[in-house]
Amino acid sequence: MVNLSINGLNVSVEEGSSLLEAAKYFGFPIPTLCHMDGLSPYGACRLCVVEIGEGPKAKLVSSCTYPAEEGLKVRTASARVLKARKMILELLLASCPQSKTIQDLASAYGVHRQRFRQEHEDCILCGLCVRMCEEQMMAKAIGFRGRGENRSIGTPFDIKSDVCRLCGGCMYVCPACRLRCTYNEPEKAICGACANLSPPCIEKEQFEDMMCFMDPCVACEIKKD
């Protein structure tokens, strides 16, 4: 067991747990977007930052990726943490204003306006879908491409991947946009479940192999009838 203090409370947690797990276990809420139990921690959204250390050496780290260390002093809601979180939410709001999840989080933290140029993006590149596809669905159909402002998620060469089973797992885990629908371009669609309704699931016998997350699903309902 590892002993540490969270917001002044001395606690001990199992070795190998992350600060996020530790804090959650003892009831300290930490907002997250790119974290999901069962998927490896990634640390992309930075919303889960907490302050560790003391004095001039105090710093912010993402609690989902930082391991619980012996004697660590963690503050999950210090002024510095809240200031950073508010700015992150403001940035998120400026880019993805239509996401319900982000709106709710912003509202909870009292962020009521954003001061940047308004953008309308669908994706915050949290990478949950990429990890879902790789770690749970064992498909590796989608991944990150490019870097910096050109970073995006998609299949190799933007054509439908051969290893994609159209399970819909990527859409299921998406925290920001919830069902990113690319129906307009079914050929390029990452999932394309709705656009590709007919071929894979309705008629195919291997439906069982698909580990489908689309429940209830229009296709299944049609099949039943």
């Binding site: 921690p41 990634y42 640390g43 992309a44 959204c45 930075r46 919303l47 930052v49 710093k59 912010l60 780290v61 993402s62 990726t65 930082y66 391991p67 260390e69 510095r80 200031k83 950073a84 700015m87 992150i88 940035l91 998120l92 400026a94 880019s95 001061r115 940047f116 140029r117 915050i124 590149l125 949290c126 990478g127 991944g143 990150f144 490019g146 870097r147 910096g148 402002e149 050109n150 970073r151």
Partner: protein, 615 residues
Amino acid sequence: MEKLNFIEQFRTFRRNCLSQGDSVVPTIVVPAGTCGRASGANELIRVIEQELADKGLTEKIGLRVTGCHGFCEMEPYILIEPEQTFYPKVDPAEIPNIIEAVVRGDVLEDLLLKDSESGRIMQKQDDLPFFNKQVRTILSRNERIDPVSIESYISIGGYSAMVKVFENGDPKWVISEVKASGLRGRGGAGFLTGLKWKMLAEQPNGHGKFLVCNADEGDPGAYMDRSVLEGNPHSIIEGMIIGAYGTGVTEGILYVRNEYPLAIKHFNIALRQAREIGFLGEDILGTGFSFDISLVKGAGAFVCGEETALIRSIEGKMGEPRQRPPFPIQKGIYGKPTAINNVETWANIPVIIEGGAEAFAKIGTKNNHGTKIFSLVGKIKNTGLVEIPMGMTIKEIVYKIGGGPAGKSEIKAVQTGGPSGGCIPANKFDISIDYDSLTEVGSIMGSGGMIVMDKNTCMVDVAKYFMNFLKDESCGKCYTCRKGTQRMYEILDDISKGKGTSAHLRLLDELAHVVKDTTMCGLGQTASNPVLSTLRYFKDEYIEHIEKKRCPAGVCKELISYSINENCVGCRACVKACPEGAISGEKKQRHFIDTGKCIKCGACRNVCKFEAVDV
């Protein structure tokens, strides 16, 4: 080449190398690093070879092609040994005359460099203020050897530090020497190399460990590592062998960016020679110690210079940083303990072992020992690589070694540390150059870029330039780094176009602090430095852009207009230079610029000899 199996054989080999040395005949030295070749060194070499062959002088005059010596401003230059006569910016047509002079034992004074103030002729390399103010422990070896010849390196004492370590036989001694020298990582962060090695040596050696040389030098305007790799690749190999012996490592990797073809070529040649002679491989010189180095080429991402991203890149994955801890020293390449050091750090290792830790520690100031190479570029007279002892002031570098401003305008600031660093204003030029002082004024040592800026440099534009670089080079994993750099660029762009408000400035400051605080790796944590340091020292320039919609340096195109003043003598030079035909006027009469047609390219200002074009 015959493989050497014992230390005794090395001694004999070394004596042979020394006896074949070219100390007797005069030798023409041509620096031909990437910089030299770009300015025409290859043509010089060709002409010299031709000339020597034509006149049958190949036996009497030697020719040595080396890596970069540092004085890139004067390239292509040649050096005549043993007098060290320095001919700057040599025209290939002058080569026959120079060679004749060498045969006569004479010097062509017309071609020599003159001191701009006193008009004194400076014949020898050491007469030049650029060279004689430096302490060149690393760079001076570049001019003494042929980078593609191991014999050449051995003849100047190369690999004897390695042999010294083998003879001592105690790995712990190596680490204690490096620790005692106080050498700090030259990549920028300044971690104590000895401590890092000690930690690596203490890691359990279950499945192997790695030593890495980080040559992914990506800062705009910095090329120290390239010059060392090109000019003296064997010193890196020797340093790594010593490090491996001290830490008990059997595998080494050089991670070099693919944009350095000459460095890769020279290092590959050096690796092959070192393997042939038996300095790399199994049972080196009969000591029972085995070590080999492989070369990995980076695909061109700036972020791969960051330790954890570099590790992922070596593993063949996408170069993006990960959380530390676990530190690379605990879990690095393929989960094995890994120590990563910069090229310059490795180049210092043989120097420390050879000369002793104490001698090394004497150079520099407290907690900052040894020399550091900077690439001095920008609006300065003598651009090039300078190697200085730690603790020298910025003033000395800029005015004594660098020779002051290149143009007529005053020097305003120096930018150190690349995109992660900050701008140091002229009133702080008295600070000494070491890791701690630079951090104190809001910049960093970084890998050694030093960009000099004068009154014609707009600090908003500088911040915008670096932010543009960072928004492209951020890996994009952390939301605050990816979006934060984009948004900072957006705001800076607005300010430079006269669309900024004072609310923008507050937002920029707020955002810069959050980006610094919340990102995972060193790139993001320092990405705000260009903004924060310019805001700290040059806020008046920002305010001028915002309130008066004016760019005091005359750089931001949207905020300036060109006009011609009464100094104009009507020479028509600007009329010819203007690509848009926006300037009109008769000969010997004052010209005028049609602001409607003007695209603000500045061509007229560049050609005007009478300072008649105002911004």
